[in-house]
Amino acid sequence: MSWDLKSDRPIYAQLIEQLELKICSGVYALGSKLPSVRDLAEEAAVNPNTMQRALVRLEEDGLLYTQRTSGRFITEDANMVIQIKDKIAREQIREFLEKMINLGFSRKDILSNITKILEEMRENEYDSRV
C-alpha cells in the first residue's frame, strides 16, 4: 500500500491517518516492529522530522510503543484497533452522508441506494466467480 498525500492538508495529520489505516488493515501486524523513522520517511517521501512527529503522536494515543533499545512496535491490543477502525468508518460514513444530503437525497433514498449498490456488488462478485 502506497502513501497517498494530498497537497492542501498538513502532512503530519495525513501521515497519522495513513499509519492508522496501515495498522488497521494489517499492513503492519499487531505486535510487530515498525520500520525506522528514516525508512518510513523515505518510503512516504516526506521529511523525517514530520514522520517522527506523527509517530510520537500515535505513541501518545497508545497505538505504538517504544522499547528503549529495539525500536517502535505496534500495539498488541486488538481492542484498540477495533476502536480505530470504528472511528475511521464513522468519519468515512459521515463524509459520504454529508455529500449525499448536499445532493438532495433523503435518508430513505440514501438507504435504498446503499442496499441496491450492495446487491449489485454481490452479484458482480458472484458473476466473476462463475
Binding site: 498525500l5 497537497s7 492542501d8 492538508r9 498538513p10 502532512i11 503530519y12 495529520a13 528514516r38 520517511a41 523515505e42 517521501a45 516526506v46 521529511n47 523525517p48 522530522n49 514530520t50
Partner: protein, 232 residues
Amino acid sequence: MNMILECKNLTKSYGKKKALDNVSLNIAPGKIVGLLGPNGSGKSTLIKLCNELLTPTSGEILIGGKNPGIETKKIVSYLPERTYLNDWMKVSEIIYLFKDFYADFDLEKAYDMLKRLNINPTDKLKTLSKGTKEKVQLILVMSRKAQLYLLDEPIGGVDPAARDYILNTIIGNYSENSTVIISTHLISDIEKVLDDIIFLKEGQVVYTKTVDEIRDETGKSVDALFREVFKC
C-alpha cells in the same frame, strides 16, 4: 540551541540596488529548509554570502558561529547555480579531486550514487548532457558529510525520476546535525520534504513558517500560497 546559520540585519547592495535588505534569520541544525522566492528576490545572493563569494554591505552572517571563511567551508557543501567543473576531466577524476580537497568526502557513497543514476565514471564531462552534468555535481555535493548543505536550484535541470531519487537522497542523508537549504522554483516537487519555508521578496523575508503551519492556516499547499503571494 546553537544555530547553524545566523543572519543579523544582513544587507547586500549592488550599486544602488539592494539585493538583500536587512535580513535577520536563524536556522537550526537538523532542518531541511526551502528558500523560496521569485526571480531576483535575493535567494542566490544569500547563498553566495554564506560561501564568502560575496561579502555583506552591512550586517553579519555566521555559519556555526563563525564568519564565512576557510573554517566554515569545511562544514559547508555548496551546489552553485552554475557548473564550475573542468569539462575535459573524467567523472572519476573530479571525484578524486573532491576526495583530495574535502576531508569529509565519502568516496563509496559517490560511486554508489553514480551507479544508481547510471553515470559512467570514465566518461568525460564534456560528453555528458546538461542534466547528467547537474547530477554529477549534485553527487559531489551530497557525498560530503557536511553540517550545512546549500543547494542552489538542485533539481531544475534533471528529469522527474532523477528528481525523486535526489529528494530521496536528501531524506536518506538526513541527520540531526546537518541542515539542508534548498533554493528552488519547483515547490510542489519538494514541499513534502521541507521542514521550514523562507519566502523572500525583493530582498526581504516575508514568511518563515513550517510547511504544515502554512497548510493548516491557509488550507493551501506551499506551491498554491507562493502563486498567490507572488501573483504577477
